[in-house]
Structures are given as structure tokens and as C-alpha cells.
Symmetry: C2
Subunit: 187 residues, 2 copies
DNA sequence: AAAGATATTGAACACTCGTTCATTAATTAT
DNA sequence: ATAATTAATGAACGAGTGTTCAATATCTTT
């Protein structure tokens, strides 16, 4: 029981149209009517799938988050130093954001709802937790670990927002250095 | 040269109407037309002052931020321990958010634009910087201080978002304890 | 290949939006 | 108090919104 081809076609057309329009104008200026005109679908059909223009973006967002989770699973260079171990995986996040920079420029802009921030937070949070579980010995763990995890997640998200403000000029490597410095503080 | 009374009256009516409507329904469901009907002002007049419903909220937001800055200026209990010194002022933030809980519930909700978060960040950031300047001796300062300040700001904002998610159930005191614990990490 | 299921279409509806403009009303300055 | 200034009003506009419904087109199942 797979999805109806017509649905897939409609959604693909809408996503394509949105990405095309986003190169011309900000999200707020894109009307449903215009989006449907470009996508060559009826406006009524739009409402069968989405509530508003953001709905189409959220769909795309899900694939991006899925891609982030996937790239986290992949192996990456690991040093022997404990602190770096905990944090080595996090550079993947920076590479991911850099890769989808055009998208994150929208996600982090002032007019965009907090929704995306929260979802990214949850994702990064699960990464940090995972890293902790990998590198902590049992006697190393304590009740405050949960708290540390959140703390570090906030540090990462904060770095990303700062990066956004600087228009993604800092290199991924420097960003990662800053993060490692943060983590050393929170050792 | 003060502001025309009619302008003040119009803006007050709009703010009052918005606060009234916000008790009934979420911000997204409030149309300009309805807001004007409640405020008993012409819809055309609305556009002389604001661009959208969020504009009215932003106006109110400015007074709230001003109030936060004011309460930061007021004296507060100071301990003799350095770490607590740096952080003692920050409990004011928690009290402030608790005081305007109804408002922050909106500010931090998924559908609200990042705008408010960024402004709050800047404000808290200036507080943290100020605290550092107060409590750090000159030889204590180094190039990484700026970085520490941002780091701690992120910790505070992260705590606030966490607080929001838990519907502001945690007490201000416990929240402050958690913050002090964070800061001790980042000593 | 035909039948059944379901997605898309187009048209229509009342409504909101953002803007304009001449008219009226309220406020400020003289 | 009067004149000058400026804000608010009401009406109208073209466009977008969100929804409905019967008719049509497309896909899936047998």
C-alpha cells in the first residue's frame, strides 16, 4: 500500500515551486495563489495537503532533519582525547548547516517561527546525549548528566545562531574549536 | 513637542483589544479586522500605525523589555561568593519572566517568530556582560571573556525555553540554582 | 482492460488584506 | 477663541484566503 502517485506529484511540484520562488523573494511575500500558479496546481488542491506556505517548507525541513540524523550515524574522525571524543561528532552538525546554508538562512531569520529552532534543538540534544553515553564510563555518570547535556546543546545552538548572524563566514573548523573550548569549560 | 493625543488613544485601544482577544484565542487567529472592531477604530487607521497584528505585540514587548532593564538596575541581594556574585543578578530575569508569564507563553510558542528571542538574547547578553565587568578583576579578564559571556547567555536562554516547555512549573529559586550550577561549570 | 477508488479541478462564496482618497473630526499652536 | 495642522473615518478597489461542491481525471486493484 504505497502513496498515490498524484499526491507525490502535487507535493513535488509545490516544493519545486517554493524553492524557485525563494530565490526571488522572502517567504513572507510568497502567496498561496502564486505558489500554485508556479506549481501548476489548483489552489483548492493545495489545501488538501497544506495549511499555508510554511507547510510546504516544513515538509522539506523534515527531509533535511532526516539527512542530519543520517550524517550523524556515519563514522567520523575520532581522536584519543576524551573531551574531543565527546565533541568530535558535533562538527558534523556544522558541516550539515553549511551544506544547507540557504535553508538555515531562512530558518534562523527573525520572521521565522520558533518551530524549526525547537526541532533542531531536539535533534542536537539527542546527538549530545548519544555522545555522552558513548564516552562516559559508568562511574563517570551522575544525576547531573542530563543537565550537562542540555547545557551543551544550548551552547551548540547558540553558536549556530551566532554563525547565522555573521552570515556563515566563520569556518567550520574554527566553529568546532570554539565548541571544544566550551565543552572543556563544562567538563 | 509631545505626541498627539489621538495617536496615544488609538494605540492604547489597540493594545487593550489585543490583550482581550489573546485571552480567547491564539495570536494567529486574530485578524486585523477583528482587532479593529474590538478596539473601535477604523481599519485604515490601523495601517497608519502598524503593519500587522504582531506590530501591536511588538509595541507592548518594548515596554516589557524596558521593564526588564529597569528591574535589572535595582539593587538585589548579593552574597560574598564570587560565582554567586556573577549570577545573583540573573535571578531578576527569572522573576521578570514569571511576572509576565502570560506574555512569554506567547513569545516562546512554536508559532512565534524568532524576533523576540533575539531581542531577549541581546538584553540578557548585556546583563551578563555587565555582571562580568562588575566582578572580574583586571588580571582575571582575558580574550576569552566575550566568549564566556555568550556561553552563559545561551545557558540562561536555554533554561528559559526549558521552563517554557514545562509550563513555568519550576520555582524561580530552583531555576536559579540550576543556573549557578551551570556557571560553576563555566568558571 | 474494466471497475472502483480517490485525487484534482474549476467555479463560487463570504471574508480578510493592503492601499487610496476625499471628507470629517480632534488636537495643537497662535 | 480661532486658525492651522494632523489624525481618524468611510468607502471603494483589486487581490488573496479558506471553504464548499459537483464534475472530471488519474491512479490502483481486480
Amino acid at each position: 500500500m504505497k502513496k498515490d502517485l498524484r499526491i507525490i506529484k502535487t507535493q513535488e511540484n509545490l516544493r519545486r515551486a517554493l524553492l524557485k520562488l525563494l530565490k526571488e523573494k522572502p517567504l513572507e511575500d510568497i502567496s498561496i495563489t502564486e505558489l500554485c500558479r508556479i506549481a501548476k496546481i489548483n489552489r483548492g488542491t493545495f489545501y488538501l495537503h497544506y495549511k499555508d506556505v510554511h507547510g510546504v517548507l516544513k515538509d522539506y525541513w523534515e527531509t533535511i532533519i532526516a539527512d542530519l540524523k543520517e550524517s550523524y550515524e556515519e563514522p567520523y574522525y575520532q581522536t584519543n582525547f576524551k573531551i574531543e571524543n565527546v565533541q568530535a561528532d558535533m562538527i558534523k552538525i556544522f558541516h550539515h548547516v553549511k551544506q544547507y546554508q540557504d535553508f538555515y538562512q531562512i530558518i534562523f531569520s527573525e520572521k521565522t517561527p520558533m518551530f524549526y529552532y525547537y526541532q533542531l534543538f531536539e535533534t542536537v540534544h539527542s546527538f549530545v546525549r548519544d555522545s555522552f553515553n558513548k564516552s562516559l564510563t559508568d562511574d563517570n555518570k551522575n544525576l547531573k548528566v542530563e543537565f550537562l547535556i542540555s547545557y551543551q546543546t544550548n551552547a551548540i545552538l547558540g553558536l549556530l545562531l551566532e554563525w547565522h548572524k555573521q552570515d556563515y563566514e566563520t569556518s567550520v573548523e574554527l566553529l568546532n574549536e570554539q565548541l571544544i573550548y566550551s565543552i572543556r569549560l563544562g567538563k
